[in-house]
């Protein structure tokens, strides 16, 4: 493999990893507060559709991004309201969000093109790749890491910040407490329900960004089923990352790498049927899940929020 090939593989790896990482980080913060949001796939899909539609008609990628975040916030608010206030089952509510979001996105995709026609095949505004002077001259890493779009750069900054927030700050400690032991957090004066609302909504915003990155940077256009299970892979990555932002980045790169490999094999004219190539990420997800849960020793280090998925009901405390 020559240098140009390595650079191209790394570039695709990062590009494919960006939306995965946004979604995974969103889910990490949501789950840290004790709420399991299985609506990632639906939020990403709706985010991708609205981002593209708004950007296309307003000719502004940024407006598209903003609306996708708003949509993500609204959808995750629905999840929060149903699960926190009305105590609906978190698993089924998340599934409902995904089913609803998939339907809504598909509807919009067929309807929001010019003249009420389909959006498939349209070209809209994108977040272009902007090389960063000086940094792009670093061998190999420069042209692959520092020739990306603005959402990728935002992620470079956001990632350490989110890690620091979660690990080293008072609000981060409170967030972990809310997810691990809500009763204790409550005694300490941390508003449990409010925190869960806020982090679920914040997580939804990031999932919206993940969708916007798909339709305006990575794939640059709308396609039916654009997410192709990436939302679910993000949920698997949360487990892989043991609810830690930095490890999530490793996982996102791993899966981005699988995408890059898929492209590379297809481009090289492999004899492996494309159906099997397309199975790779899903097969890998299962493999990763199995490996990570294998054995008691690994499980002990997992660090899942202890109260994940359990509604917190103050009145019924004994």
């Amino acid at each position: 493999m020559n240098e140009a090939m390595i650079v191209s593989l790394l570039t695709i790896t990062i590009r494919a990893g960006v939306s995965l990482l946004y979604a995974t980080l969103g889910e990490i913060f949501t789950e840290r507060s004790g709420i399991l949001n299985l609506g990632v796939e639906g939020i990403m899909m709706t985010g991708a559709a609205t981002a593209f539609a708004v950007a296309f008609h307003s000719d502004s990628a940024w407006l598209g991004l903003g609306v996708a975040m708003l949509v993500g916030a609204m959808m995750s608010f629905t999840h929060a309201f149903l699960t926190i206030t009305l105590r609906a089952d978190q698993v089924v509510t998340g599934l409902a969000l995904t089913l609803f979001g998939t339907g809504l996105a598909s509807f919009m995709g067929q309807r929001l093109g010019p003249g009420g026609e389909t959006m498939v095949g349209l070209q809209g505004p994108v977040f272009p790749r902007i090389p960063i002077p000086v940094l792009e001259d670093i061998p190999i890493l420069g042209p692959s890491m520092f020739n990306q779009d603005v959402l990728a750069y935002a992620l470079y900054l956001l990632l350490p910040l989110m890690w620091f927030y979660l690990r080293k700050t008072q609000p981060g400690l409170h967030l972990r407490a809310v997810g691990d032991n809500p009763a204790a957090a409550d005694v300490l004066g941390v508003p449990v329900k409010l925190s869960r609302y806020l982090y679920t909504i914040f997580g939804g915003c990031l999932m919206g960004v993940a969708g916007a990155h798909l339709s305006m940077a990575y794939l640059q256009g709308w396609a039916q089923n654009i997410t192709g299970g990436r939302g679910w892979i993000a949920i698997a990555l949360v487990i892989f990352a043991t609810w830690d932002p930095l490890r999530a980045a490793v996982g996102a790169l791993l899966f981005g790498g699988i995408n890059a490999l898929q492209f590379r094999l297809q481009a090289a004219g492999t004899t492996i049927p494309s159906s099997f190539l397309n199975m790779m990420p899903y097969f890998f997800t299962i493999l990763v899940l199995v490996l990570i849960t294998w054995g008691e020793a690994v499980r002990k280090r997992l660090g899942a929020p202890a109260a994940l998925g359990i509604p917190y009901i103050r009145e019924e405390k004994h």
Partner: protein, 363 residues
Amino acid sequence: MNIVLERRLEKARWAVVIVPIASFLLALVFGAVLLLAFGINPLQAYRVMVSGSLGDQYALTETLVKAIPLILTGLAVAIAFRMLFWNIGAEGQLAMGGIGASYVALFLSDSLPDPLTIPVMILMGMLAGALWALIPALLKAYLEVNEILTTLMMNYIAILLVEYLYLGPWRDPEGYGFPGSAPFPQEALLPRLWGRVHLGIIFAVLAAFIIWLIMNRSQWGYEIRLIGENPRAAKYAGIDAKRNMVLVMLLSGALSGLAGMAEVSGIARRLYQGLTVGYGFTAIIVAWMANLNPLGVVFVGAFMGALTVGGDQLQVAMGIPAAVSLVLQGAILFFVLGGWVFINYRIRILRSGKQKQAGELNE
């Protein structure tokens, strides 16, 4: 002012019937607002959906055609959810059932006596679905691997496997490039009873009745329900949760596999792309709206069938994307989810002054 949820001493039985109906009506209102926002007359759209799904004999039969896979997969999801095994993989298990049945129809029917073809197809379809469900069940029972993700990932793999087969080795050599297998021989087709409604409708209703008997009248059903409702009590009662998990998933996968068999043998009469159109996902809505009751699944499945056909008609008659029915289904599930709170809780609105007092009462 403060809104407080008070736990009911007894479950509210009325809610089981009222909530799904009210949810449907609220979803219609929500859908109307959405359609208006997209510049579509909701009353006209709903009229098309109703007449397209129930208006005449053809419409009714098509509704029943869709109801068959929805009831079978709805039952599959309902029994798994009953013991809190989140099987999101009905779609993939259906696809595998389709593959299993197609294999018999395409490659074994010549060497089988004609009357045996259908029974062997049923057997292979159910077996293939059950085996596909067995993998996540074993992974969950013995390695504690998250079943939501494994069942879901296996959907994608199964759908791609179907694609590989009809585009590759099983492609019809005389199909002029049409992506699909060769048509099945006559003896591999489920007999049609009314329009396109085939024998599968009998399977579906019969399956619902049998599952109801198992769940409500057998020791096994009692164990499954106990595991779902009170895992700790089940453990103390000496019930083997792992073994039950595997058995329930075998049954669940077999039901979805049967749905796949019925689809390829009764409707498509070949293996092709249209096998996986999302029945396994709508099944989740069917199961939850029926409150996981097997007999309820029959009615909700038929209802969702009507909604699906109505959506298709919307596309044909008005050029409105059929995805409207998916949006409505999702909205119905939201309202049902929110509505189930009334089964276990009473909602009371308190003035701020009385808040403390009520809080004390609750404790």
